[in-house]
Amino acid sequence: MPTVPIEMLAGQRAESSGPVVVFENVVLAFEDKPVLDGVSFSVSHGETKALFGIAGSGKSSILKLALGLIRPDAGRIQVLGHDITEMSEDELLALRDRIGMIFQESALFDSLTVRDNVAFRLMEEGKLSEEEIERRVREALSFVELEHTIDRRPAELSGGMRRRVAIARAIITQPELLLYDSPTGGLDPVTSTTIVELIVKQRDVYKTSALLVSHRLQDAFTMATHYFDRQTNKMSSLPAGSKRELPVTFLVIRDGKVIFDGDAQQLASSKDDYIREYIS
């Protein structure tokens, strides 16, 4: 079977248009406790939307809804052009091949090595040769700079390394949409910056759309003000006075409703007391 380089996979979808994710009046409750109450927003192609809100405000539930892991009580959700609210689990499993998710605590399979974790999706598909899978695994691990951990088990890795392996596992097939659930939660500032850099790299190199849940506003502001420089292979801040706009937007949820949906400048200039308190 001919092999397709990862960058070419990313390039093939660069031409697709229209929103990647659309939530329309989504309602969700757990055991009669309302979590989301008429949430509507959309994520366009190549955009990274950062979700904010206090703990328990339903941010992680939005990611699980977008992946079809849970179903809304009302409303409509479109992902990659498909209305997933009415899709069967088998149809969703096929659609999830085009989506990558990084879970809050990494959710690596602790009985498997890093190699098998990262290769999991490719091995399940069974379409590629072992040599090609090995090459892809090493490529994904080198993206997160963890090639040397390939034979280790998740228990032998630090929290930050586990997050990076989770990113490698999610991007190995170069999905069109990435869902990050608190990727920097509980990490030290240096490791957090490494993770943010990887997210920016994925956004700028592969133009992947993303929904990102975070508790750290500074991470999202970093993403909104930094780009990945392919020449230096590092994240750099936009020069002062630059008119280049980075595709990062913010969504703030309060009491199950969206109270803000806009870019960094709009967020910084918001007059809403709650938002001002949140960003201060």
């Binding site: 699980k64 999830r96 602790d110």
Partner: protein
């Protein structure tokens, strides 16, 4: 803690809510069983996972099955001896042990042993995966967890329990022979001949149909409590305990009804 504090922390559930919860649990269990069975006809079949589980469940349980079978047969012979002596029928002890082990005790003891070892193992393993979001991660990676995790465990448990029961039966009769020959002074040839000759096809069929049901119950109950675990490590522990208790009780209940049905269908003795 004062009694008042304790009572104020107790959450009272209305009988209708309690009943609804139980019915929902049964419904979800039946759905899981249906999915596990339906997966047998859908690809991929995960042969390597089935073999891995069979090794863990089968080979890993052999030592406890050999010991449990051997001593069950020995105790059966020892306890029956005093009763049979009263009627001067100690020579029938081989028949009694053989029929008792093959028709009832072998399958039930094996089922209970494997339930204790593997229903708990399955529930705790899957429960840990559930509470650490590994099951969700599997779904997110496009793999059906019931196909990858549940069906291989069900197939492996059913197949291995069948063979473990045969081993338990054999070692039960060996255990009975040790008591009969060494303690009661019976002739070895007589014991083994009577043990063999008394067995009818119906006894063997009854004894070998049961482990298929027990294996299914042990694995599906273990998987159900694992896949529905919630509430962190405490929830996993609770689910593990429930898996052992429920599967053990179900084995005894199914034993009663299945034996009744099979005795009617096979019309023996």
């Amino acid at each position: 803690m004062a009694a008042g504090d304790f009572l104020s922390n107790v959450e009272l559930i209305s009988p209708s809510e309690f009943a609804k919860g139980k019915i929902l649990a049964v419904q979800n269990y039946v759905l899981l069983c249906g999915q596990a069975m339906a997966n047998l006809f859908r690809r991929p079949l995960y042969g390597a996972d089935i073999i891995q589980q069979a090794d863990f469940i089968g080979w890993g349980s052999i030592s406890i099955i050999v010991l449990a079978g051997f001593f069950t047969g020995a105790v059966l012979a020892q306890n029956s001896a005093s009763t049979l002596e009263r009627f001067g029928s100690v020579s029938l002890i081989g028949q009694l042990v053989s029929v008792g082990m093959v028709r009832q005790l072998g399958p039930v003891i094996t089922g209970l042993m494997v339930a204790g070892r593997n229903a708990s193992g399955i529930a705790s393993e899957l429960g840990s995966m559930k509470v650490t979001e590994q099951i969700d991660a599997m779904r997110a990676l496009g793999t059906d967890p019931t196909k990858k995790l549940v069906t291989p465990r069900v197939v492996a448990t059913v197949i291995m329990l069948f063979f473990l029961t045969i081993i338990a039966d054999l070692f039960g009769i060996v255990g009975g022979s040790m008591v009969a020959i060494l303690m009661l002074g019976l002739d070895s040839h007589q014991y083994w001949t009577s043990s063999w000759q008394v067995l009818q096809n119906a006894d063997v069929i009854t004894g070998l149909i049961q482990p298929v049901f027990y294996g299914f119950v042990i694995s599906t109950i273990g998987c159900y409590y694992g896949m529905t675990a919630k509430g962190g490590t405490q929830g996993v522990g609770r689910g593990t305990t429930q898996a052992v208790v429920v599967s053990s009780v179900l084995i005894v209940v199914i034993d009663f009804f299945l034996t009744r049905v099979l005795s009617i269908v096979l019309v023996y003795r």
